[in-house]
């Protein structure tokens, strides 16, 4: 490939459309990156999901310059602590060596191939984690301009020419950029005058000039996209998921970003792709570690030593991970196999539908212990594809999984009888916004900055002292200034303008019925049914939204719960449900609530509307919720190494870097009725989706559960997994050195790529030990195996996730209680079985 700066365009080049197709394909190398305000977990390796898991990890490590495993010492510690079973590791090692016959072949007296591999796994010194890499000059230049272009109102002086688009705006300013001149020299400056102004044409011309072979273009472009996965992901979010108003006036596509990369490539200043260091030991060192002299072994034996020495740390890490997964599976699945007998049916005092989030499970368990309460798991957006414009907010919030586009736009409206309260709230909010805007303007103005600091400094000092020394008192004082929002406003199910009704009656009945169809909730509901969304609580925390509900687009789920509860209390909707065979008892009342996962407090909404006949039931339930909250708080406090009371302070402490563990330690996705998992302590590690195979003869509900909630769970699982594996490349690094950038993300220090993934404090304890054990999601379904097989076979999404080993699937047969594991495509098929036939767990254990 010719890397010299060539200014004239060659004759044959791709058309704009061909380039558009290639650019769109290359863009898929990185997942979209949502801004902090609606943090959505994604798999940083989404662009590699067509590959088998191990191969994808290795390929991505090369592409992103990332580690493919945690340092082995962490795995060895987990082995010592019993989180990884010795026998499971040994079994994984034997499989890797090609079976027990090859593994036990002697290398020397009393030493087999397996012993060599176990020595590498358990005792040979292994390299520590690589130090953070410095961003190359070319990437730093593009990252700098991306930060300027994509700023959303934080900069005092916005970048000029943004309306021209990213590529053209940067082209217009590069002649004045000393960093560009230093990097690309006079030839680079001349190139600025000659390259096409249209990004697609610029990419086409660049590819032709650089003579990139036709068959390699897509991969070559993808390699460029992967050099700045944060900014590339931001562009994907803007192009594919953001409301157009958010990018109005500053258009940018992946072609813009690639045109900038092509410019640097044509200038001949593209830095070499990152190379992973070779961490493999010399065969002689391995032999010496095992007390052998390699030179004195015969040629055949030397080959055996070399074979084990050639395995890289990534492979060793994969063996540990496979063993950890098997250890977890063998701990969980037998308990579920034994629990297939349904209990005697009895009507609970209340039913509470929680989000599938792993943080719901221990709370549900604590509540179930408090009385005759039945709990269910459902996607936390409660099946409502809605966007909500909150009163006074400039933009709507998408309160739904990113797999869906909003179908209904809702607005907040004052609750009947609370109009004055709503007006006071609006006034307080407006005052706050104006004050913040005035302060920001004064702080950044060259003439006013010092005066602002002098004038507001003493007040800021008092506020700072209050927030630092008495965060809970500061929070209480702040709360007194404005009435609680949820008491004054609610998402309006019925608009005052009949022409703008957000939902038709048929739609309301449909959404209400879906709750029953997907979860198996029987029509004979309890007197109280509480739809419980959830959200986290944190201040001064850029990652606060990552603690909210993923199914609600990284927002708290209370609004969705309120909307569905209101629908289910509407007589016309009840009549519509009855017509579908879902005749609910007239005495059932639906209530919305929100579980605060940081404090374990549960807020009940719209209590005023609860019939007086149900107030006694409600009082008992509230008392049970408070006791369950205390139980769960105590459990979580142990994991965080604090007192339960400290968790409440953490929610309003602006110096808190870890208000909760979030979804760390997530490991399983359990699909079945609650009674099945109720006696199994899932330890806050399982997503729980309620499902009754008996009410789903065609598997449609199961297909929905596996292709949507499970996919979201897999994204979360992969985000935690890879952010732990390499927190620099796939996570966002240490919170204490992060800077929030333009309302869209964080960077480390004062520049570089927009960071993806989770911060170090979400995954590691203060001593640097991983709290999250990286392992792939284990999905366990209680349903007839042939029905599950049909659902998987009909879905390319599931075929890929299970077939390529991104998620492990175990099906428990409700008739026999026997568990079977889905075999991934890379596993050897036992003779006589079909490629996708489900095999017995025991055969592969």
């Amino acid at each position: 490939m010719n890397m010299m700066a060539q200014i004239t365009a060659p004759e044959r080049q791709l058309s704009r459309t061909e380039v558009a197709g290639l650019v769109a394909l290359a863009a898929r190398r990185v997942p979209p990156l949502w801004p902090l305000a609606s943090a959505i977990a994604t798999n940083p390796l989404a662009g590699f999901e067509h590959l088998p898991f191990a191969e994808a990890v290795a390929s991505a490590a090369r592409q992103f310059g990332a580690a493919a495993t945690l340092p082995l010492d962490h795995w060895r510690n987990w082995l010592a602590a019993g989180r990884v079973d010795q026998a499971a590791l040994r079994s994984a090692a034997v499989t890797r060596l090609g079976g027990i016959y090859r593994a036990s072949a002697p290398v020397a007296a009393g030493l087999s191939r397996l012993d060599l591999l176990l020595a590498r796994l358990l005792t040979m010194p292994s390299p520590a984690a690589a130090p953070p890499r410095r961003l190359a000059d070319d990437a730093a230049l593009i990252a700098k301009w991306c930060a300027a272009f994509f700023d959303r109102g934080q900069a005092a002086v916005p970048m000029p020419h943004r309306e021209l688009g990213l590529y053209r705006a940067v082209l217009a300013l590069l002649p004045h950029d000393r960093a560009f001149t230093a990097l690309a020299g006079p030839a680079g400056r001349r190139l600025l005058l000659a390259v096409p102004r249209d990004p697609l044409a610029a990419v086409a011309e660049g590819l032709a000039v650089l003579d990139v072979p036709g068959g390699e273009i897509s991969e070559w472009l993808a390699g460029l996209v992967a050099r700045l996965p944060g900014w590339a992901g931001h562009i994907r979010w803007r192009s594919e998921h953001a409301d157009p108003e958010l990018s109005a006036g500053a258009p940018a596509t992946m072609a813009d970003l690639l045109a900038l990369w092509l410019l640097l490539a044509r200038a001949g200043v593209l830095s070499p792709a990152p190379a992973a260091p070779d961490t493999r030991p010399m065969p002689a060192a391995l032999a010496a570690h095992c007390g052998l002299d390699l030179a004195r072994l015969g040629p055949d034996r030397q080959v055996m030593v070399e074979e084990v020495a050639r395995l890289d740390d990534a492979t060793l890490g994969q063996l540990f991970m496979a063993a950890a997964e098997q250890t977890y599976l063998e701990g969980l699945v037998p308990q579920l196999e034994r629990a297939i007998t349904p209990p005697q049916a009895s009507r609970p005092a209340a039913q509470l539908v929680f989000c599938i989030d792993v943080r719901s499970e221990p709370f549900r368990r604590a509540l179930e212990a408090e009385g005759p309460y039945e709990t269910l798991g459902y996607a936390g957006f409660f099946g409502l594809p809605i966007a909500l414009r909150r009163d006074g907010a400039p933009h709507r919030e998408r309160l739904l999984p990113v797999l869906l586009a909003p179908q209904h736009d809702l607005a907040e409206a004052p609750l009947p009888g609370h109009e004055a309260q709503a007006a006071r709230l609006a006034a307080a909010q407006a005052t706050g916004r104006h004050a913040a805007s005035l302060f920001a303007t004064a702080k950044q103005g060259p003439a006013t900055a010092f005066a602002t600091a002098e004038a507001t400094g003493p007040l800021a000092a008092v506020l700072m002292a209050g927030r630092t020394l008495a965060p809970r008192l500061a929070r209480r004082l702040q709360a007194r200034l404005a009435p609680p929002r949820e008491e004054a406003l609610a998402p309006a199910l019925h608009h005052h303008d009949p022409a703008r009704t957000p939902f038709s009656l048929a739609e309301q009945v449909g959404y209400a019925a879906t709750l029953f169809r997907l979860t198996g909730l029987p029509a004979q509901t309890a007197r109280l049914v509480v739809l419980t969304g959830h959200g986290g609580a944190a201040v001064n925390n850029p990652y606060a939204a990552a603690l909210d509900c993923g199914a609600c687009g990284g927002h708290p789920g209370g609004a969705n719960a309120r909307v569905l509860a209101a629908m289910l209390n509407t007589p016309e909707v009840r009549a519509g449900l009855a017509a579908q065979g879902l005749a609910l008892p007239a005495e059932s009342w639906f209530l919305a609530a929100e579980h605060n996962t940081t404090t374990d407090a549960v807020t009940l909404f719209d209590r005023d509307a609860v019939p007086s006949s149900h107030l006694a039931d409600l009082a008992q339930l509230e008392s049970a919720l408070a006791r369950a909250g205390a139980t769960n708080r105590a459990r979580r406090a142990r994991l965080l190494g604090r007192t339960p009371d400290a968790l409440i302070s953490a929610a309003c402490d602006w110096a808190e870097v870890r208000p909760e563990w979030g979804l760390a330690s997530n490991a399983a996705f359990v699909v079945g009725p609650r009674w099945w998992s109720r006696d199994v302590d899932l330890a806050g590690r399982a997503f729980l989706h309620s499902y009754d195979w008996q009410t789903d003869p065609d598997g449609a509900a199961l297909a929905t559960i596996l292709t949507a909630p499970m996919v979201v769970a897999q994204w979360i699982n992969c985000q935690y997994l890879f952010s732990t594996l390499d927190n620099q490349a796939y996570g966002s690094g240490d919170k204490t050195t992060q800077n929030v950038l333009g309302g869209i993300g964080v960077i480390q220090g004062n520049g570089g790529d927009l960071r993806i993934g989770l911060p170090r404090q979400s995954l590691f304890d203060d001593a640097g030990t991983p709290f999250h054990l990286p392992q792939r999601l284990l999905t366990v379904v209680l349903a007839p195996p042939d029905r599950v097989a049909r659902v998987v076979a009909a879905s390319p999404i599931l075929g890929q996730l299970f077939g390529k080993g991104w998620v492990r699937l175990v099906v428990v047969d409700p008739a026999t209680g026997q568990a079977r594991r889905w075999r991934d495509d890379s596993e050897a098929a036992p003779e006589g079985t079909l490629p996708h036939e489900i095999v017995w767990t025991q055969e592969t254990a």
Binding site: R16, T17, V19, A24, S218, P401, T707, P709, V711, A794
Partner: protein, 119 residues
């Protein structure tokens, strides 16, 4: 562009039609191609199902817009549709999908030129 006469004697214009069936997850890829080729508008039929080399493809599931298949129907001049087809040929090297090209006659040719309202 040729002009013909349809059976009910309306003046019509001959254009090209392209139909594209892809996985719903690849909808954005096709939209990028259509925009780059200058196709002014297109129709998307969501949630299509059918039989293919890989067996039967189910429709979408209710909570995932990116599941199942989608079908695009676009009409434009031969040059623009040819461009789309060329881009698709590249795309189909890596992604699954089928496309059909055919001659069509339309009543309002201006409706299918770039810059016109999408149909």
């Amino acid at each position: 562009m040729m002009t013909g006469t349809d059976p009910i004697r309306l003046p019509t214009h001959r254009l090209k039609k392209i139909e594209i069936v892809v996985h719903a997850a690849d909808q954005g890829l096709v939209e990028d191609l259509l925009k780059a080729a200058g196709v002014g508008g297109w129709t998307i039929i969501r949630d299509v199902a059918g039989m293919g080399h890989g067996g039967f493809h189910q429709g979408k599931t209710i909570f995932n817009d990116a599941s199942g298949l989608v079908m695009f129907v676009g009409v434009a001049g031969a040059a623009a549709i040819g461009e789309v087809a060329r881009g698709l040929a590249r795309m189909f090297e890596q992604r699954a999908g089928v496309t059909f090209l055919s001659d069509v006659e339309v009543i309002r040719s201006d409706y299918f030129t770039p810059g016109a309202e999408a149909g």
